[in-house]
Symmetry: C2
Subunit: 220 residues, 2 copies
């Protein structure tokens, strides 16, 4: 009957391999980035502010857990999620963290744009308003991420180009900006810029992963 113990230990150890992926802050950040589409090591290292060597090590751990896959594209090696359910799990975990950890709630409040930050309405009414043109949904992520997947009716203006392209946005309509998700600060910066320039702008906390729109390959 000690045999049963050994079997169980092996089984839970395997599941823990998946858990370990989500137990390191940097790996979580890498997973969130990969939810936006496939990326090279160079980009992943830059976005997470770590060395390519360390990024490579973390990505190797991700690959060994079979949650990410690679393909070579010329000189670069591209990483992507092995399955959409990995993005789902990331969303589940960070949502549970936001529900249960008051510390996280406090941190998130700190980074919220001060007046009226949250988008109040539900997704359906936001989509309806976007379809009618009553609000402008603005995707401020890099263009490639927008091309891979974006929220319906969203326009793409990467944060870095926003200041130069302000005239593309209407001043008489409400603008709802979004980026990679709740822990990405690009939409917040965009809203701050837009408000300083006199636009009516709000922030959407969720990104494509939270909407369930994660795509594993760019659209061909």
């Amino acid at each position: 009957m000690d045999d049963a113990r050994n079997i169980k230990d092996l089984l839970y150890e395997q599941v823990a391999r998946i858990g370990k992926v989500f137990s390191s802050p940097k790996r979580l950040e890498l997973v969130e980035l990969l939810c936006q589409g496939e990326k090279t090591v160079e980009i992943l290292a830059r976005e997470t502010s770590i060395s390519m060597k360390l990024a490579s090590a973390h990505l190797r751990a991700l690959r060994e857990s079979h949650l990410v896959e690679t393909t070579r594209q010329g000189k670069n090696i591209c990483y992507r999620l092995a399955d959409k359910s990995v993005a789902d799990l990331w969303v589940r975990i960070h949502t549970l963290a936001e529900d249960r950890l008051t510390e996280l709630q406090r941190e998130l409040q700190k980074i919220a744009v001060q007046p009226d930050d949250l988008v109040p309405s539900d997704r359906d009414s936001l989509l309806k308003a976007a379809r009618k043109g009553e609000v402008v949904v603005l995707d401020v992520r890099p263009t490639e991420e927008y091309l891979t997947a974006h929220i319906p009716f969203a326009r793409s203006i990467p944060l870095g180009e926003l200041r130069q392209r302000l005239d593309e946005l209407p001043r008489d309509r409400s603008i709802v900006a979004y980026c990679r998700g709740p822990y990405c600060l690009m939409a917040r910066d965009a809203v701050e810029l837009l408000r300083r320039e006199g636009y009516s702008a709000r922030q959407l906390r969720d990104g494509v992963a939270e909407w369930g729109f994660t795509r594993l390959f760019p659209c061909a």
Copy 2:
């Protein structure tokens, strides 16, 4: 702009606290047990084959992640999941592990009862057959766990009492035994016993957590 790095680091670190819960085999086993209902430290330690001191330490980690809560019941302290979504997350994680890790698939095959182990039909048809009385769904977990939550139409005969209570089971109908989930060996042992005794028995891999029936408190 180095400020943004610090903020992000704090945010992902908080989410990683939740991930760490699911990164240790013993903690996973504790979570799975708590999916069956609230339990004392003594029971949790016994079921996971660890000392009460170590169990206490792991449970403390779980409590500090706010995923489990405690109440004192007389001399004992009872642990339970703080939210149903914790059970959901456990199911998501072990399902993803089974989907992605060939090593885990192999281990699970090893412990499968040899001929025709899996319950082939989907849940709806199993329930339909159980309602009509065409199959007997048998819950072999301890009685308290059955009382807290069980699959509809299931009868309760704890594994330890099965040999003495065989006459309660019909020999002319198919028996489907289940226990705590895919990593619990009780249903497998029950099926082996039943088959040796001439019954037509199969195993249901899923438990109450997988069916979404986890309850945080015992029914009053």
